[in-house]
């Protein structure tokens, strides 16, 4: 069963297209890697999938029972987060922004779910720690936990390993792999083609001739 299907999708800003026509499908429990050169439209595609940018043409279709609010988003870190005074719990809880509607505060149930997700990612001991004092890997886990609170069926990760050392990268991949095995659908944008090949079930390569398929198909197509 698919949960996300794009047909002849062209993304871009205003009338300026950034990508060629893209057609791909993400199934429940899938692990899709989106790769491509700088400027190939990876970030633009992510923003379009999230509904922050209108598509220039083509369609984005969600599967039955699947809604955009099921997507948890992990954006790239920004410079101003580096010295931001916030404890891990506060950051994780902010993942429920899409659920709270007009309520000013988070409910008890949401706090419980946040707690569970922290345990799931092994960061419960950091709950009261200040975000700016964490290592890069711990910060990324915190943001991943926030994404888990935001969407419980699909994670959309935008270059999650961009600023991590090899060890932290490996353990983050392992964590994502585990979440995937537990049934979470993963869509990951990455530069790290080598690392991604070991991870993903499907690939989407952006560029002049975009292609979509398994790792083998992609390699054969590229030759």
């Amino acid at each position: 069963m698919f949960c996300l299907r794009c047909k002849d999708l062209i993304v871009g800003y205003g009338v300026h297209p950034v990508s060629s026509a893209l057609s791909f499908e993400v199934e429940q429990g899938d692990y899709l890697c989106i790769v491509g050169e700088n400027g190939a439209g990876k970030s633009t595609l992510v923003q379009t999938l999230l509904g922050l940018l209108p598509a220039i043409s083509g369609t984005i279709e969600f599967g039955e029972g699947f809604e955009p609010s099921h997507i948890g988003y992990l954006p790239q870190q920004t410079a101003l987060q580096k010295d931001f005074p916030a404890i891990v719990t506060e950051v994780v809880l902010s993942g429920f922004q899409n659920r709270i509607g007009w309520r000013p505060f988070y409910s008890r149930r949401e706090k419980l779910v946040a707690r569970k997700n922290m345990v799931r990612l092994g960061i419960e001991s950091l709950a009261k720690k200040c975000y700016r004092q964490l290592s890069g890997g711990q910060q990324q886990r915190t943001l991943l936990c926030r994404a888990l609170c935001a969407g419980d069926r699909m994670l959309l990760l935008d270059e999650p390993t961009a600023s991590l050392d090899p060890q932290a990268t490996e353990s983050l991949y392992e964590l994502i792999r585990r979440l995937n095995r537990e049934g979470m659908t993963i869509v990951m944008v990455t530069h790290d083609l080598f690392g991604a090949r070991a991870e993903a079930k499907h690939f989407l390569r952006l560029g002049k001739t975009p292609c979509f398929g398994t790792a083998d198909q992609l390699l054969r197509g590229g030759e």
Partner: protein, 285 residues
Amino acid sequence: MEEGVFQTLGQYLAFPFVQNALVAGTLIALCASLLGVPLVLRRFSYIGDGLSHVAFSVMAVAAIFGLSNNMFLVLPATIICAVLLLHGGEKRKIKGDAAIAMLAVGSLAVGYLLLSKFSPSANFSGDVCGTLFGSTSILTLSKTDVILCVALSVVVLLAFVFFYNRIFALTFDETFAQASGVRTGFFNLLLAVLIAVVIVLAMNLVGALLISAFVIFPVLSAMAICKSFLSVTITSACLSVFCAVTGMLISILAGTPVGSTIVAMNIAVFLVFRLIGFFCAEKKL
């Protein structure tokens, strides 16, 4: 000696205009420090300064036309500038700091130019100095001014409490907040309007050049020792109120200018908190 001080203070506090000043000053300090938290963290520290220069320029225009109550001209003009500065976020041609600096210097120059050419009063330099550094005007607040202060502070406080979690999400990660369906445009607008209102009110208290201190110092002091967003917010509000009250009392007793005394208090508190933060960090290592 001590008794003498308290006696003098007691005498002063009996005057309604001193009470008015204390109430208004405390509330303005509270609002400025609350709004200061998201502004400082989003690298908009200088916005207070820029907007107050705009307000100065508009006041100059109002003075030339001989408007007695310039609030109705100054407030909308400042709000419009605040909206222009905060709106559009990261996608503008002139980036935040440059836009603010441009607006600040430009409006200061134009305001001074206009006043020097068309000033209606004889004491031109006194007027300018008063507007820039705050004069005794905090002691001449009318009843309406105080009521306006109270009403606006209530609005700011309610908005801050009600939208606290959204403000956090927006400040920490604007992209994520937007993807979560937070109407970032609306909240940026709200923030811009509130800060403009607070700044126009604060001009009466500390003058155009010193307002930034109200927005920045309490937040930075709190950030020196606090770890969570909530504790930074609460601490900075408490510090700001403390500095405003003690600063005003000292200025009454010592006969110093109100604005600079409060800012001096803020600087002292900031240094103390930095020291505490420094030693706490040393211990942990």
